[in-house]
Symmetry: D2
Subunit: 173 residues, 4 copies
C-alpha cells in the first residue's frame, strides 16, 4: 500500500494519517511512502501503533541518497537519489495507492498511478487533490475512477477490496 | 520550450499542433517533446514548416532506449530508458511548458512543471487536462497560475512573455 | 546489505550465494538485490534458510513495473520501471555492497557504490568483476579500496566491520 | 557521439579534449556530454572551434535541474534532476561513446554503454579507466571489445567506422 500526500500537515490531518497507518497494518498491508515529513511521517508513525505491526512494515522511498533524511518511523529506507522521479518508484511498488490531501507532488503520483493501472483511493476529508479527484477518471484509458472514501475506515475497506479484485494474495505494498 | 500532450490526436488537433510547432520556431524557441506520436509528432512536424527552422531545433525525449521509436521529425533523440520517468526530464529541460489536450501522462508533466517552478501555458481549445487546469493553481507553493491561452498565437505570446520575465536570453527549450 | 551480481549462475555459485544470503540474515542484515534470477535469486533463496529470517528481510529492486518479474524469494518488491537505472537505487539503498561474480551490470553497480561512498566487498572466489576489482581503488576520491573477501565468511565479517565503522546501528540494507 | 570523462582535467588533457570536440564536429557528429566541468567542458569548448560547428551541436545532460550548472559551451541543456542516473541517459542517447580518462563515474558510463550495445572507443593517452579498459571485453554478452585509440584522430576514425557499421546515416549523437 502506498500512501501519497502532502509534506506538510496539521494536528487534525496528523490524527487522520496516524489512524490510516494503524488501520493499514491491521489489515495486513505494508506501508510505503515518500519517507519524509507531513503526511508521510504521520502515516509511518501510525503504523507502529498497530498490534499487527512487525519491524519492516514501513518503507520510505526517498528522493535523496542520504538515509537519515527519512523520518524516524521508517523501517526500510529505499534511497533513489533521483529527486522527484522517486514518485514513480513509489506508486509502481504499490498494489493500491491512497491519496491524502496533496499538492502538485501528490498530483504527479496520482497521475502516474493512473497510468500504471494502480487502484487509487482518495481520502476525501483530507482535502487537497485527494478531494478534488475523488470519483474522477483522469483519461479514457481506464474505465474505473478514483475511489472516493469519506473516512479512513472506508479507505482501508476500498484498498482491501481492490487488492482482492486484482487477485493479490501477499500484499507487499 | 517543452510541449506536453496526448499521444493520440485527430485532424483538428493535428492542425493546431503543427501551427504551434511552426510558431514556436518562428519565435526563436527550440521544441522538446516526448518524441512519440499524437501531439508530440504533430508539433515536431510543424516545426519543420517554419522559415526559421534549423536542423537540431526539434528534440525528442524518449521513454525507451531505442532511437527509432522517435517520430521522424525529431532531430535530436534523447533516449532515457527510464520509462515515464522521462516526463520529468522533459519538463525540467524546458524554460516554458505548453500543455496540449492531455491525459494522465500530461497531467504528471504539468504537476512536475509546477513543482519545478516552470511557467505552464495551457492551450485551452485543445481540451483535456490543458483545458481543465487553465487558470488554476496546483498548490500553495506558487503565487502564479497555469496560464490560459485561447489560441496558438496567445500560447506563443505567453511563452515569450514568461521567458522574458525570467530573464532568459538564449532559450534552448 | 545489497548483493550485486550476475543474472546467470551455476550450481557452485548458487551454493555460494545461498550461503551468503543465509549468513547475511544470521548477521542481522536485510538483503536487497536486483530481484531477478541468477545470483539475485540464489541469495534471496538462501536468506530464507536462516533461523533469524523474518518475512520482509528480502528486498528486490526491479528494473520493470511488473511485480511478478521478481523471483519468488523476494518479500518486498520495489518496482522502479526505470530499467537499469534501478542499479543506482539498489546500491544507494544499501549500507554495504557485496559484489558476486558480475558482468557489466555489476560493474555499473560497483562504480555507483564507489561514487556514493558505500563500502564494497568483493567475493573473490565467485570470479567476474568481483575478482578483478578486489583490492582496487576505482579513482582518487576515496582512500579505501574494494575489500577482497576469499570466502562467504570473510565477506560477511567485512560487511559487519564496515557497518560498525560507519556507525550504523540499525542496518536496513 | 557521447564523450564520457572526468570532471577534473589538466592543461594537456584539456588540449586533447578540445581537439576531440573539434574533430568530432568536423566529422559531422553532435556531441553530448555530462555538461559540467573538466573533460565535459573542454570537449564542449573545442566543438565551437570547428568550421562545421552549428549552434545546437553541443548537448549537455545534467544531473541537476538547474540549467546554469551547465558549462557555457553547451548549446542544448537536458536537465534530468536524477543525479548520476543521468549517466544512463547520456550513453543511451549516443550512437558511439568515447571514454576519456575517467574515474568511477566514467566507469559506470562505460558499463552502461556496454550493456546497451553501444560501441565504446577508449582514448588511451588520456589515462584513467579509458586506458585500463581499452581492448577489453566487459562480459560475455558481446563479442566485440572496447576499441583502443592511441590518438584523437584514431578515436574519431573509429567512431565513424562504428557508425557506418551499424548503419546509422544521420548521427545525432
Amino acid at each position: 500500500l502506498a500512501v501519497v500526500g502532502s509534506s506538510s500537515s496539521d494536528p487534525d490531518l496528523d490524527a487522520m494519517c496516524e489512524q490510516l497507518g494503524c488501520r493499514a497494518i491491521d489489515a495486513g498491508f505494508r506501508i510505503a511512502s515518500g519517507g519524509l515529513g507531513g503526511v508521510m511521517e504521520a502515516v509511518s508513525r501510525g503504523a507502529h501503533h498497530s498490534a499487527s505491526y512487525r519491524e519492516g512494515d514501513v518503507i520510505g522511498i526517498l528522493p535523496v541518497h542520504q538515509h537519515d533524511a527519512a523520518n524516524q518511523h521508517v523501517d526500510i529506507v529505499i534511497s533513489t537519489g533521483m529527486g522527484i522521479a522517486r514518485n514513480l518508484v513509489l506508486v509502481s511498488s504499490a498494489d493500491v495507492v491512497i491519496a491524502v490531501r496533496g499538492g502538485s507532488g501528490t498530483l504527479s503520483e496520482v497521475a502516474f498511478a493512473w497510468q500504471l493501472g494502480k487502484p487509487v483511493v482518495a481520502l476525501c476529508p483530507s482535502g487537497g487533490w485527494a478531494q478534488k479527484l475523488a470519483g474522477e477518471t483522469l483519461d479514457g484509458r481506464r474505465s474505473d475512477s478514483i475511489i472516493a472514501a469519506s473516512s479512513v475506515t472506508e479507505a482501508i475497506a476500498a484498498a482491501c477490496q481492490q487488492l482482492n479484485a486484482t487477485g493479490q494474495l501477499n500484499p507487499t505494498g
